[in-house]
Subunit: 169 residues, 2 copies
């Protein structure tokens, strides 16, 4: 059983890489690329594995979840740094609202942003090997916003290859 599972999961992982790296895949669905970096929302990212949830305080007041493609998940599991080329991280953010069903709980409200980091050390040598995309309703934010991405990651996270999110075990 384990062997079958491993084989199928490996095939799925390989397919995931194919899907996300295919030049035609999903572009029609995901709209324009980000300024500066040319990063798209990758097809199928909502099916990727969870790295960790997070919360962002006011004024953003968001619940978030960071998902990773198969390359990203393998790097986290094997504790590989820097992340290999092909790594893609997707941060999904929603407004943070009280559950209508259970008072102590708060849950995702309206979606706010999807933020993507793509590792390609040849394409993005000036930003630690990472390309960034910040999307609101599927549309990339402006160039000014994208100029701020790496500065913040660089200042805080050089020792972890500029990645905030740790794997939640």
């Amino acid at each position: 059983m384990k062997l079958i599972a491993a084989t199928v999961l490996a095939a799925a992982a390989a397919a995931s890489v194919l899907i996300t790296s295919s030049p035609d895949s999903g572009r029609a669905e995901v709209g324009d690329a980000s300024p500066i970096f040319g990063v798209h929302i990758p097809t199928g990212y909502r099916q990727w594995e969870l790295i960790a949830p997070a919360q962002e305080a006011e004024p953003l007041n968001e619940l978030r979840a960071v998902l990773g493609n198969a390359v990203a998940i393998k790097a986290y599991r094997d504790q590989i740094l820097p992340f290999p080329d092909g790594t893609i991280l997707a941060k999904l953010a929603w407004k943070h609202i009280q559950s209508p069903d259970f008072e102590p709980a708060s849950i995702p409200g309206a979606a706010t942003t999807v933020q993507i980091m793509v590792k390609d050390s040849k394409k993005y040598p000036a930003t630690g090997g990472w390309g960034f995309g910040r999307f609101i309703d599927g549309k990339p934010a402006d160039e000014a916003q994208h100029k701020t991405c790496f500065a913040c990651h660089e200042a805080r996270l050089k020792a972890r290859d500029y990645v905030f999110t740790r794997y939640a075990r």
Copy 2:
């Protein structure tokens, strides 16, 4: 590309069902079954797709993520209620701590509980078709705790087949 992706994803989904329903799979890894319901922590649940993150206020003060097996995810996507037999939901909970890297963010700290819901309408007719398991460090909580599960779900969520978590889109 889409056809290949769909085929492989379907194979992975089918394999996931096989993995989680195999009577021998992972029992050695996941310890004892819950009292009353006999629910185990399913093998491979940490690789399941995200349904939604959540936060729980004090006194628990937790960040959470609910993941679902392939049957669960399909039911959510197709908006099928009641959930079909074979649905498994896994709620992962961590203490909610401030990020050491970015002041406005809070992130998962130590893991607190893993809570499982298994749909089997023949096995669990008295509790809406659901079996419950609440695990702390991989060990099931006591019988008294398991007596409280369905009462709370039944009181609040009859219209959604006793499930709190909505899919975060």
